[in-house]
């Protein structure tokens, strides 16, 4: 299980990385944590001629608060998310999500940027980003642009990123005070992708839903924003009937593929079940 030969580049700065990306274009692949790409290369499904390692670029790391937003460098690892006091306080949903990703060793290496840029609907960050109304900063030699998570995921492994672009930063508006959160993920075992998962933010006042965000993992060609469910819950009394209807609406947008985790019926049902779990838990954490 050995990769094909390739040229390795370890640029020390973002501009260097961008010019390498320009020079080699299609031939090049960006190496972030490498825990999706390297296994693919070992099994020879992927064979890039040039590997551009972003690991030495300090400016792509770090978690900081900027105004009402949390800015996270694309090369920040899952483990850094898990242990971040700032995130624990401001965006606990992201911490809960990161804790459910893969296994401890992979979390030391895997990065939030790689997870997002990969465009795999089975990855967890995409749905978390949708629930958090995050936006992504993309840089190329030509310049910089910011794309909302909403329009970023186009299809399996297809995103709004251009080949010569690098995802440099994730920007997350800090949810309002008292907002409850939950990432409910059903998986077969540690290290597995979700059979289905739901990310929820919810704030209720006097038993009514004041604010809600809901997104689903691995039950479609892309992560799914459960808009109908959100709209239904908005302003409504938060009770069993409302939760059940929201789950039904969430299930109605699922188009999961069949695999060893289960068939369409099961995965769709689990999307509904995870939605219910996520909403109930988020509500219980809402103040």
């Amino acid at each position: 299980m050995i990769p094909r030969p390739f040229e390795y580049h370890a640029p020390a700065s973002l501009p260097d990385a961008l010019s390498l990306l320009q020079r080699y274009g299609d031939e090049a692949k960006l190496l972030a944590g490498g825990h999706s790409l390297l296994p693919m290369m070992k099994l020879r499904f992927a064979a890039p001629g040039h590997l551009i390692d972003l690991g030495k670029i300090g400016e792509l790391k770090g978690i900081r608060q900027v105004g009402n937003e949390i800015h996270i460098g694309a090369m920040t690892t899952e483990n850094e998310l898990v242990w971040s006091p700032l995130l624990a306080q401001k965006v606990p949903l992201l911490v809960e999500g990161a804790r459910l990703i893969s296994d401890p060793q992979v979390r030391y290496k895997g990065t939030i940027g790689g997870d997002i840029a990969h465009g795999d609907p089975g990855n967890d960050h995409p749905a978390l980003m949708l629930a958090l109304d995050a936006s992504f900063v993309l840089r190329s030699a030509k310049g910089e642009r910011t794309v909302p998570a909403g329009g970023f995921f186009r299809g399996p492994f297809v995103t709004a990123m251009e080949p010569e672009e690098v995802l440099t930063r994730i920007q997350i508006p800090i949810p309002g005070a008292g907002t409850g959160w939950c990432y409910a993920k059903l998986k077969r075992k540690t290290g597995d992708f979700a059979t289905a998962a739901a990310a929820a933010l919810l704030r209720a006042k006097a038993g009514r839903v004041e604010f809600v965000r809901l997104a689903l993992t691995n039950v479609g060609a892309t992560p799914l924003k459960a808009q109908a469910a959100e709209q239904y819950l908005q302003g409504r009394a938060f009770d069993d009937a409302a939760i059940a209807e929201a789950a039904r609406l969430a299930m109605s947008i699922c188009e999961p593929s069949v695999d060893q985790r289960g068939d369409t019926a099961y995965k769709t049902a689990m999307a509904g079940e995870m939605t219910q779990r996520a909403l109930r838990t988020a509500a219980s954490r809402s103040q």
Binding site: M1, L186, R188, T190, T195, Q260, G262, A265, Q276
Partner: protein, 802 residues
């Protein structure tokens, strides 16, 4: 003067002999990362081999083009079937009486079958070379479902033996038929069923699974042209048998072949057979004159070497209204894959399946197994059990629950009513096995008391009233291990005896060599404990060696829990031969008759004169000196080849409690209480460790392991992402307990234990899951009980809605 008994006890403790939880000797190197596993071996000039494998389950090979591969930098050679024919090694005998292609000859019969072997400077060049070998295939229709294998006009999988009327186990009725084996009294059993007040019938699948040890299979073959000596370092649970097979195959004298086991990263049955990779590496070494390393990838391991089970069973019981079982009729259709490469004793093509009457007193029984070829990987190894025992025990332990449910009898009570009673031992089963010893009622009662069974049933009733799913599973199994009497058990004509060669040195230190091969069982520790107690010498000074065929005496290896029952017995008996001589020496030195001596822990004492005696250490020195009885040779050594009079029959009583989420199918094992009786206990610490491991593998099999195929024979789950190996998060917590019912025919009364938790654990999990649905009329669901499959049951019952 000190109380001699206290002193004796202290001296006994210092020996660290049988019954103490002595820390493991082998750990010292493992915790430092200094083990020597096969992939750790680097020899001068060593090359690396990689297999080219078929993407098709069934196809003709139209052509193979080596040119591009040979042009890859670092590639030294590319071997295909035609290259092996001159040395007559294109095909090899299997341990199941069949032959198997080393490299595919004209056609491939299962996906990932070995097609070419690329030899290169290192594993990187080998991988590049393997990718460059061009094979032109013509795909053929594949048989995946064994129930289709014997259809009229079914594609013939094995054209090479199409006209052979048998492959080692009786007449064949179809080109895809391997054997039909039956046991018991068919007519008598049928008569019982015809007249029985109650009968139950259930189709029960033991799905195709894989032992999946953490270390894959591999070898380093090194042929030395000048001396004609072949040395093979390999992951083998049975080095001596492998050497014999290698000799038969290559024509090299057995005395010129050395198989070295080294450290092995787990076997669980996967490392008993001989695989094409080993043979290809040996041939490549003979051809190139340099050492060749071949190491499986995990995908290759799961896809091609040593699968287990794949038994499509039908269980039937006939009983009285009170649940007393009168007759048993079990049949199974066995999917052996493309070559009959399972490991079976010649006379037992279906292994020890006929142990399927379990712990119960059943008057009439009949069983039958039909084995067929399919376009799947060959094998059918014993995954942490004696061959086909898990399949048999699963059937009886599931069927007795099916019967209990039909009759509305409590699942513990129906077992009590059918148990072989303590006073019935030794008990001869309807299939002719003589169960050596047991006390089944005592074991079950102890477990039920420990878990407060009644309280659990009350809690379950309350939960059911609330619509919640809680299951209580019981398994009261009897295992059969320690193959075996050579009159009954042989492989390729080699009886399944085992051996021990003990050499005592003047200072009282000992080297003992045995024919078995540890893969983590701790033999270096436990065999030393047996010998320590027998010889009265400290186990710390007793060195155990196994697995190097140049050093160790011949033995059939470590599988089927045979190490303690067979080699452990050989160790005790060899030690006793030494003791006989030691006693003569002691009598001579003390100038008394042997009859005047009594043994105490580590010395012979003169009866009635406690101060007079000779310690074993003194005797060891004397045995190498000049003052010996007239005509006695120097030395204090002995060799024992032990042919057991019978197998041993460990047993146990397990209880498992599960809570099931009816909305997701998630099954949580709340409690698992395991009582095992393996007779005399040599090292409680190691026994408990073995039970933890066996239960965890049972959990994996029952709850998640299966190898899925599509209709074309494509393997759909051969990585560790899909193939379920539980992590520390999924693995339940285990509670262990024991009773001690020694085996009457074993020199130290020990029975073997490592496989009981696997064999007895699997039905316990299934019984717990099924019990959670029992009140809803569910009698059976096939393994594995994944959340998906459990949810499907909930969904079918309409209980998955809020």
């Amino acid at each position: 003067m000190p109380d001699t008994n206290v002193v004796a006890r202290e001296r006994a403790d210092q020996l660290q002999g049988m019954g103490c939880s002595r820390k493991r000797k082998e750990d010292a190197r493992f915790i430092r990362g200094k083990g020597t596993y096969v992939d750790d071996i680097q020899l001068p000039g060593m090359l690396f081999g990689a297999m080219v494998r078929s993407p098709y389950a069934h196809a003709r090979i139209k052509s193979i083009n080596k040119a591009k591969a040979l042009a890859v930098p670092g590639v030294v050679a590319v071997l295909v079937a035609d290259d092996l024919k001159p040395v007559n090694l294109a095909w090899m005998p299997t341990l199941g009486g069949d032959v198997q292609a080393v490299l595919a000859d004209k056609k491939v019969c299962f996906q990932y079958q070995e097609v070419a072997f690329v030899v290169a400077a290192d594993r990187y060049a080998a991988a590049d070379g393997a990718e460059a070998v061009e094979v032109d295939y013509e795909e053929l229709p594949a048989i995946v479902d064994p129930r289709r294998a014997l259809d009229k006009g079914a594609p013939v999988i094995r054209e090479d033996i199409a006209d052979k009327t048998e492959v080692g186990h009786g007449p064949r009725t179809h080109p895809n038929h391997i054997f039909t084996w039956e046991a018991g009294d068919k007519a008598g059993t049928d008569a019982v069923f015809a007249s029985a007040p109650v009968t139950v019938r259930q189709e029960i699948l033991n799905p195709r699974v894989h032992p999946c040890p953490l270390e894959t299979c591999g070898c380093v073959a090194s042929f030395d042209k000048p001396t004609g000596q072949l040395t093979v370092y390999m992951t083998s649970q049975a080095p001596h048998i492998v050497r014999t097979v290698a000799s038969l195959l290559s024509g090299i004298a057995e005395s010129k072949i050395r198989i070295v086991g080294g450290d092995i990263g787990g076997g669980f049955g996967n490392k008993v057979p001989v695989y094409p990779g080993y043979v290809a590496a040996i041939v490549a070494s003979i051809v190139t004159g340099v050492p060749i390393k071949w190491i499986e990838s995990r995908i290759e391991n799961i896809s091609t070497t040593g699968f287990a089970r794949d038994y499509h069973g039908v269980g039937e019981l006939a009983a009285d209204k009170d649940g007393r079982i009168r007759g048993l009729r079990f049949t199974a259709l066995a999917d052996h894959g493309a070559f009959n490469a399972h490991v079976s004793a010649t006379k037992f093509p279906a292994g020890l399946f006929s142990i399927c009457t379990g712990s119960y007193d059943i008057a009439k029984a009949y069983c039958r197994v039909d084995a067929v070829y399919t376009n799947k990987a060959p094998g059918g190894v014993a995954y942490r059990c004696s061959l086909r025992v898990t399949e048999a025990v699963y059937l009886i332990e599931r069927m007795i629950d099916v019967l209990a449910q039909k009759l509305g009898i409590d699942k513990a009570e129906i077992r009590r009513r059918n148990f072989v009673k303590a006073e019935q031992f030794p008990y001869v089963t309807a299939f002719g096995w003589t169960l050596d010893s047991g006390n089944y009622h005592q074991a079950l009662d102890k477990v039920l008391k420990a878990v407060d069974y009644e309280a659990l049933r009350r809690e379950q009733a309350q939960k059911r009233a609330r619509g919640e799913l809680m299951g209580i599973g019981i398994s009261t199994f009897t295992e059969i291990v320690g193959a075996g009497p050579t009159k009954a058990c042989d492989i390729l004509g080699i009886g399944l005896f085992d051996s021990c060669d003990i050499r005592v040195h003047p200072t009282g230190s000992v080297i003992a060599r045995l024919g078995t091969m540890s893969q983590g069982q701790g033999h270096a520790t436990t065999y030393a404990q047996i010998i320590a107690t027998e010889l009265g010498l400290p186990s710390e000074d007793i060195q155990i060696e196994e697995g190097d065929t140049d050093k160790a005496p011949y033995g059939a290896g470590t599988w089927g829990s045979r190490s303690t029952p067979v080699a452990g017995a050989a160790a005790a008996r060899a030690a006793r031969k030494i003791m006989d001589k030691a006693k003569k020496i002691a009598a001579h030195l003390l100038e008394v008759g042997e009859g005047d001596l009594e043994w105490e822990v580590d010395r012979f004492r003169v009866k009635g004169n406690p101060s007079e005696g000779k310690t074993m250490k003194e005797i060891c020195m004397a045995a190498h000196g000049s003052n010996l009885p007239a005509g006695m040779e120097q030395g204090l050594n002995a060799v024992e080849y032990y042919d057991p009079p019978n197998l041993t029959f460990p047993f146990g009583a397990y209880v498992c409690v599960v809570d099931i989420d009816r909305f997701t199918g998630e099954t949580h094992v709340r409690r698992f209480y395991a009582l095992d009786d393996c007779g005399t206990r040599i090292n409680p610490m190691i026994i408990e460790g073995q039970i933890h491991g066996g239960l965890t593998e049972a959990f994996a099999v029952a709850m998640g392991q299966a190898m899925p195929f599509d209709e074309n024979g494509n393997h759909l789950g051969n990585t560790l992402l899909d193939y379920f190996l539980p992590t520390s998060m999924e693995a339940p917590k285990w509670e262990t307990d024991w009773t001690v019912t020694p085996s009457p025919h074993h020199p130290i009364g020990a029975k073997g234990v490592a496989e009981s938790p696997h064999v007895g654990g699997i039905p316990c999990f299934s019984n717990a899951v099924m019990d959670a649905f029992a009140h809803l009329g569910v009698t059976h669901m096939d393994m594995p009980h994944t959340s998906f499959r459990v949810w499907q049951q909930c969904n079918a019952l309409g209980i998955d809605k809020r």
